[in-house]
């Protein structure tokens, strides 16, 4: 375990050194994410000019939900996004070879090797917005539930990473990942709305098989309505199931890996 922490410290050091060399990209990423935050906040601001509640939430509650989304997105962009962006090329160009021969879990390398130093500042902005949404909330949330919410959001980051990987693994057979990646981004939009706006089979699907509702929406409901054993058990079960399913799918994908000719 500590070995992986030390390895990650190297990744951090190397990624920081690299990022400093590309200043324009460094500042552009900050601008890009700030625009995303403003548009998302503005969208819900406009929505609440026409309604007083959305899926049972008032504006203050929706702000916590949307701030939680920013937090998850910023963590993903900082730790994982760059790595997964390069994943299809690694498979197609045979660059996965060196990850497979090292005595380290290849998924650790593939998921965390590149730390996006240029997104790191945005993570602080996202944490700031999340803290602001808690502080301005008129009701009493309590430190315990807030801490649990943050933990559940980190579980959400983990689930998001697994879900994204599941949509990238088909590159082992398809050679291209644009289609499956776009599909992931399309479905991911469903996670950006409270899941109670959905009905029937779609809602059940989002809470189980493709658990995008478990990333942010369910933890936010648990924050406002109180964490129940059923709710937490559900998240634990989905996390365990998705971990096993992703790992098995990854193993099957690796069997199909053909590298690239020299």
């Amino acid at each position: 375990m500590w070995r992986y922490v030390r390895l990650y410290a190297y990744f951090l050091r190397f990624s920081m050194s690299k990022a400093m060399e590309f200043r324009v990209d460094f500042f552009f990423r900050i601008l890009m994410d700030s625009v995303f935050y403003l548009i998302s906040l503005g969208f819900f601001g406009i929505l609440f000019q026409h309604t007083s509640a959305l899926a049972g939430w008032n504006l203050d509650q929706v702000l916590i939900f949307i701030s939680s989304l920013f937090f998850l997105d910023a963590v993903h962009m900082t730790l994982v996004a760059n790595n997964y962006w390069a994943f299809p090329d690694l498979v197609n160009q045979g660059k996965l070879d060196y990850y497979l021969i090292r005595p380290v879990a290849p998924l650790f390398f593939l998921t965390l090797r590149e730390f996006a130093a240029n997104s790191f500042l945005n993570l602080f902005i996202a944490i700031g917005i999340l803290a602001w949404s808690f502080v301005r909330y008129p009701g009493e949330l309590g430190m315990g539930p807030i801490a649990l919410h943050v933990v559940l959001l980190l579980v959400g980051v983990y689930l998001h990473t697994l879900l994204y990987l599941i949509f990238l693994i088909p590159v082992f057979w398809l050679q291209h990942a644009e289609g499956s990646r776009s599909l992931f981004f399309g479905i991911e939009l469903l996670a950006e709305r409270p899941h109670r706006i959905y009905q029937g089979a779609l809602k059940r699907l989002l809470l189980s098989v493709i658990p995008f509702a478990v990333l942010i929406s369910l933890p936010t409901y648990l924050l406002f309505e109180g964490a129940t054993l059923t709710g937490l058990g559900h998240i634990a079960l989905v996390t365990a199931g998705l971990t096993v399913a992703t790992y098995l799918f990854w193993r099957i994908g690796l069997r199909a890996y053909s590298s690239a000719s020299s």
Binding site: S17, P103, Y257
Partner: protein
């Protein structure tokens, strides 16, 4: 150390005729075909051996090396390297093995090689004192001690290859696969890499498989040679046995005073194969038993200023074995 038993690898490839229509047709109906990259290959390699794995492009060399390093799964057959099935990717196997690919970089492009080596120290859990001793030894042998702090992308191709070698050998692997280690390098860099490999082998005695298109690499590095043709092993034996078994010919080179006539060339073909000719030279390959008769015919039919008789080089024999059975 390396035991391979009936290893095969078949790839399923999609064939498509050129043109837009064929592209549309292929969208709905794929024409799949099976390509056998490696067919039923068996061999054994012991500690300290350097084996040259040669073959034409597409013969299956890299595929075989990738199966033995655990990068890809075989379609059938079995192999054990250091007692492990490579494609099961046991950490104990991966800690004792190295793969160096001349055409792919493993080091971080934007960082000094020295930083990459620190990461590898952690990956392979190399104790600090052993890491420093190995780094000193390897950088000394390759004469790159002064380049460790320079970004990899600023190094020349030869210097980068030397850094890749250090990266691969820092953990003192017991099995080393070198896939085209000298590709693209100038002659002096090729020589330096070859000398390094030989010295390293003497000191550490790993089992090594070297693939290369450069016959100089194979001739100078490997006592044992394996030749693949269309995925099949057509030769596995010592370098010297190739000469005794397959060098049944000699080359007669005649330097001429005047251009050879077509009649003279036709007559010479009765004695052997004309490999090349121009206004001033004729190269004739003949069976060892027919050398005297062929030389006499050359002197009789052509105006010869000088005549030399050469042995067929091991490289030529290997090149022939890669593509067709050599005439004995």
């Amino acid at each position: 150390m390396i035991e391979v038993d009936g290893l095969s690898k078949t790839f399923r490839v999609h064939k498509k005729a050129p043109g837009f229509r064929a592209s549309v047709r292929a969208l709905f109906r794929r024409n799949w075909t099976e390509k056998a990259a490696v067919r039923d290959v068996s061999f054994r390699i012991d500690e300290g051996e350097i084996v040259g794995l040669v073959g034409a492009n597409g013969a299956g060399k890299t595929t075989l090396v990738k199966m033995l390093s655990g990068v890809i799964h075989p379609s059938s057959g079995d192999a054990h390297v250091l007692g492990y099935r490579p494609w099961e990717r046991d950490d104990r196997f991966r800690s004792q093995m190295a793969l160096i690919m001349g055409q792919k970089a493993s080091l971080w492009w934007d960082l000094p090689a020295g930083d990459g080596f620190l990461l590898l120290r952690e990956i392979y859990r190399i104790p600090d004192d052993r890491f420093q001793a190995n780094l000193d030894e390897l950088s000394e042998m390759l004469d790159v001690r002064d380049l460790l702090d320079i970004q990899v992308r600023r190094l020349s191709l030869g210097e980068r290859m030397k850094m890749e070698l250090i990266a691969a050998l820092l953990h003192t692997p017991r099995v080393v696969y070198l896939d085209e280690p000298t590709i693209g390098l100038d002659l002096s860099a090729q020589r330096a890499i070859r000398e390094f490999i030989l010295t390293y082998r003497e000191r550490h005695r790993p089992a090594m498989i070297v693939t290369s298109h450069y016959m100089d690499d194979i001739e100078r590095l490997c006592e044992r040679i394996m030749i693949l043709r269309d995925g099949e092993m057509v030769y596995d034996g010592s370098r010297d046995r190739i000469l005794s078994e397959y060098a049944g010919h000699k080359i007669l080179i005649a330097h001429l005073r005047s251009e050879p006539t077509s009649e003279a060339l036709t007559a010479l073909r009765a004695h052997g194969e004309i490999l090349a000719h121009d206004d001033v030279t004729v190269r004739l390959e003949v069976a060892r038993t027919a050398v005297a008769a062929a030389a006499a015919a050359l002197l009789e039919r052509l105006s010869v200023a000088d005549l030399t008789i050469e042995e067929v080089g091991i490289g030529s024999i290997i090149e022939r074995l890669q593509t067709r059975e050599p005439s004995a």
